[in-house]
Symmetry: C2
Subunit: 674 residues, 2 copies
């Protein structure tokens, strides 16, 4: 589900608020936990030291995903698929760690990730008043600028004062602004990853299905000053895990939900945006498949991308299917009438107008996807933005973000010329399709050649594959940059004006939506009181639920599977395709305690970004790790569904059994929880 | 390339004329062969008995493809991929003929195809004057109706008089109307098919590439009165084949070209239609892949569909890439100026107006794809149309076509409920995406359920899987049909009005385009004289060219490969994926004469539909069989490219060598050419 987050971040702008509550719904803010609800519903009393310990034990993967500290010497537990991008970057044609796994025998064998940033949330501060008091303009665009500037100022002050990463997070669509301070870990090393065959057992076919049998876990270790970091808050382990019917908590970073969306916006999603996104995802899926047909090494290179795309495509298909059920949106529209009576029609009018504008802008584009073009584009923006004072720059180019930006921009992670060429050719073709073949900017971008020839020329001509060259470019003046002979830099310069115009328009529209939704959210606040949590913002939230099976097509599906069941599942699929367990499992088969719980489901409210979240019991002890949701949970973007929707976890007992019996990693196992 | 035809037929309406000539360009009418050009260019004199024999030896697969008679006892040689649909229909979970091949040992083992119709063209008659004299209306729509009615009348008279299938073919966009009479063969039996592993060696990755190593052939036999048909005109074989530099001829049925298209129409293709078609193809490709992940049997069921879709997707990608080269369309527009001066701007205006209308109609749809819905739709139309006199009916429901229609409608070929359900669910979702989720017809079609649930309900409720039930429905009165409890029949009735409205509009637009292009074609006639051939119409044409290699990326690619090269190619791809030769080849490896020519290329002008066409030498002897074109030939829809574009054939020597050495089919081999 990591890649859901990735696509979210990349495809959308703007963050939107939410409301409503039933049973185990909700992705709760750590500074506004539903204490009364938990007491009433589950007889559980939230103690402050309990929740603070859990917050401090939780870890965010900045690349999109969640995790937890599980030892005093810096071990971090996450999903294999959250780690996949890093595993891929650590792999080569000779050593395919992403596929074959890895086990470090001792600290010295732990492999440094080229560009990971892990965040530990250490404090939350409400800065709503300060942000609001800085905004006095009537004009939405100007108001947006004022707000952004004040947020940047708060962040810069906080970073200077505390040395911590400081992000002002917009909640409830602007109803609240909270300052999140994070301790950053940038020296992150791979300790153990199992084989992809067990982490993603059943492949794309089993993805978003249940029952499952996946060891979707990977362990990293954070370092400070070249030594394993000393961690005060880490999770203890309950090796028995959680039983059927037991209450569990999930502490992680859900990426994005859109539960506040009005009926018109849902219709826009259903009839316009989602079909477009799905077309794009299918296009990229086929592209990566075709590239992968070139040979085993091409297949390896395409795998990380392909997995993320397939995952998103399947998720979006489920989301769209949910919206296409005829009754749902009209019911939502009906429910809105009361709110509209309270707030007045204006926010609805604003949102509808913005949606129309979004539709009208669909045949414009000022950017191309793909790693190498992204680098050129970022460098061009960086040089241009650096000519302004920090607080006037585009958000990601401000001083407060410079370290994170440089870590990604100057990452030594390998890029593959042939893969980048294939992607760039497709992006140039897509650019021509979006804007039309006669468009002036398209003709400039193609420079008289077809997309394939032009991409070949750009890739062979650019020096942006070389990190040192990027560093040189990043320090250029704009005047010098304009004289650059690098064709990719020149292309990014050519598209820059359109990129900026579209980004400005998009940010302005998001601001208009934000203000409109804030009014709606405020009215919901008044109606529904304390039972309101904000839409997900890829910040730390607490969810809760009960370990519980469900009925489907007349069958009852039990809440947990077993390790022995994995072998049965393999046989049921003729040990073919993605249903082949790795050799290590076959070798250890007789030693594995076959009744060990493997995966389990619970009713908690999660979404993409929650991948890797620790699942803990009432005592705050680790009992599992989230890695997926079933198909019925894919409506989570718009509503929580408890009847059949389930969050899927790896059981902690399976992690321990596999480490001991399959991977003979007794030393690593002995560190966990201590 | 068969499936190209399939998609053409299904996605487009209307047929459009053409012109221009250089070197080995042209898909020539048998009654207007380029005799002078052939004499001048290649020193070849076309004798009437030579061309008549070739015409009568040529066979059309009505399902989309070409073939030839190769023995006096009814053997028909075509491509494995042209036969694939039939091989698929003859396969079951127990016997996968489509994958594993088949060899009949004696007549009694020859397997009857469930619904094949083969056509042998026996005469061509110019009926232009008669058609034109029947049209006197000024109004385009009325003129179209008059023309259609007269064409139907000519066909009916001819069928009655001769007992032959009679089609009036519109050529040069209405500049000429020719009556084509065909002898039909409907008892067609499978004699031999090799394994898919050799027929499609290299899979989707090698498709449209060269060099190639594919035994893409299958042999059927036509029967009459339950006995092998006696065939007067069949091809003799030249076992040595054609040498490098030799002139060869190709007699087959190119499906569709669009070389007459004006620049505006090409822009419409580039910026609008092709991106849409590609989105659809990618969608269906992913859908079939997902379905195929369900298991080995699902994979088998999806294979035929998947192959066709991938083939089309790759072809369209190449075609679009050709149009996206910035210089091509402006050059065409420039060249049109002279014509416009001669004809006046009116035809261009008409065409532009129709293109705008087509764009405006893109969010309408009155039909769903998929076999089972297609049957219900056809039955509803049949019952409605049968209430009118034959000549007033929609074309395919006239008496003259009844036998062909019934052969397809009442085919005992297996349909799979799970596959149809998956397809129908996707089609309902797509219907909602096209028309929007609030559309009244969408709401009626979904009947309150999501696409998946609704499709499940329709599939489990319909009796259209039963051929006898179809026959009963086909004989109903419209009044009784309307009372049918079959939910699929009811759905087709619900969509019928919209289907008809869109079809009528589409036929009216096609007629307007036809008339406009006819004027343009006429002017080109006058300018370019005899050097004009009409755009392809899936009717028999003669193409010619020279066996010749070509240069690519600085390398020279020789005109032919060898059977031994197939084993080298297998090793070069680690004997993995689609690069695994079948066991039969490995068993026979030491006996195969490794220098036997396997595949070869020539410069002739072909396109989808030509698959299976015989390639003959100056003496009219069989030297090969067309099965593909290289990527550079994919522009053929719009222009013939001789620099690198090549038609790809299986060499006849490889067919004979494989039959003898690999498949031990000496009896079958001995019948060929005799």
């Amino acid at each position: 589900m990591r890649k859901l987050v990735f696509f979210y971040c990349w495809l959308f702008a703007g963050v939107i608020p939410t409301t409503a509550l039933q049973a185990d719904e909700g992705m709760w803010l750590y500074n506004a936990l539903p204490k009364e609800h938990l007491k009433k519903q589950h007889g559980f009393e939230v103690m402050d030291d309990w929740s603070e310990h859990l917050m401090l034990s939780s870890v965010r993967f900045n690349s999109g995903g969640s995790a937890s500290f599980i030892s005093s010497n810096g071990l971090v537990l996450t999903n294999h698929h959250v780690a996949a991008e890093t595993l891929y970057k650590l792999s080569s044609a000779d050593q395919n760690i992403a596929a074959d796994g890895y086990l470090a025998k001792g600290f010295e064998q732990e492999l440094k990730a080229p560009d990971l940033e892990l965040n530990q949330l250490v404090s939350i501060e409400d800065v709503t008043e300060r942000v609001n008091s800085a905004v006095n303009a009537k004009d939405a665009e100007e108001a947006g600028r004022q707000r952004q500037a004040e947020m940047a100022k708060i962040e810069a002050e906080s970073t200077e004062k505390t040395g911590l990463r400081s992000d002002v997070v917009t909640l409830y669509g602007g109803g609240r602004y909270h300052l999140y301070r994070y301790k950053k870990y940038t020296d992150v090393r791979l300790v153990w990853a199992p084989e992809a065959k067990t982490a993603f057992f059943g492949g794309d076919a089993d993805n978003f299905e249940y029952p499952r049998y996946c060891l979707d876990v990977t362990i990293f270790r954070v370092y400070e000053d070249g030594k394993p970091a000393k961690i005060e808050h880490f999770l203890e382990v309950n090796p028995d895990g959680a039983k059927d019917g037991e209450l569990v908590f999930i502490s992680g970073n859900p990426g994005r939900t859109q539960r506040i969306l009005i009926a018109d916006a849902l219709e826009y999603q259903r009839d316009n945006r989602m079909p477009r996104v799905l077309n794009l995802l299918r296009r990229k899926e086929i592209l990566m498949q075709q590239y992968g047909l070139g040979g085993a090494e091409q297949k390896r290179r395409a795998q990380d991308n392909l997995f993320g795309i397939q995952n998103s495509r399947k998720a979006y298909t489920g989301m769209l299917a949910g919206l296409q059920v005829p009754g749902y949106i009209p019911q939502k529209r009906e429910a809105e009438k009361e709110l509209q009576a309270a707030v007045g029609a204006k926010p609805w009018k604003t949102i509808r107008k913005v949606l129309q504008e979004r539709i009208a802008m669909q045949r414009r584009s000022g950017s191309l996807r793909g790693s190498i073009y992204g680098i050129a584009e970022d460098l061009v923006l960086l040089v241009m933005e650096d000519e302004k004072p920090s607080e006037e720059r585009l958000r990601e180019f401000r001083d407060s973000n410079r370290q994170s930006l440089e870590q990604s921009l100057f990452s030594p992670a390998p890029l593959y010329g042939d893969l980048e060429r294939v992607e760039l050719a497709d992006e140039l073709a897509r650019f021509a399709e979006i804007r039309g073949g006669n468009d002036e900017l398209v003709l400039k971008a193609l420079d008289g050649k077809g997309p394939r020839d032009r991409a070949a020329e750009l890739i062979s001509g650019t020096s942006m594959f070389d990190v040192e060259e990027r560093k040189i470019v990043s320090k250029m003046s704009l005047a010098d940059l304009k004289k650059s002979k690098d064709p990719l830099i020149q292309l990014a310069l050519t598209l820059n004006a359109e990129y900026r115009e579209l980004r400005e328009a998009s940010e302005r529209m998001s601001e208009q939506e934000r203000q409109a939704y804030a009014k709606i959210a405020d009215a919901k606040f008044k109606t529904e009181g304390e039972s309101v949590y904000p839409d997900a913002t890829f910040t730390l939230r607490l969810a809760f639920g009960v370990v519980k099976g469900y009925a489907e097509d007349g069958d009852f599906i039990a809440s947990n599977t077993t390790m022995g069941g994995a072998f049965d599942h393999e046989i049921a699929h003729d040990k073919k395709g993605d249903w082949v367990l790795p050799e290590s499992w076959h070798d250890a088969k007789d030693s594995i305690a076959s009744s060990t719980p493997f995966n389990f489901v619970c009713t908690a409210d999660i979404i993409g970004g929650n991948s890797g979240s620790p699942v803990v019991d009432r005592e705050g002890r680790l009992v599992g790790i989230i890695f997926d949701g079933n198909i019925q949970s894919l409506t989570a973007d718009f509503y929580h569904s408890e009847k059949q929707g389930r969050a899927t976890s790896v059981h902690i007992a399976a992690v321990l059994e596999a480490l001991g019996t399959v991977y003979k990693a007794s030393d690593l196992k002995s560190q966990i929880g201590k």
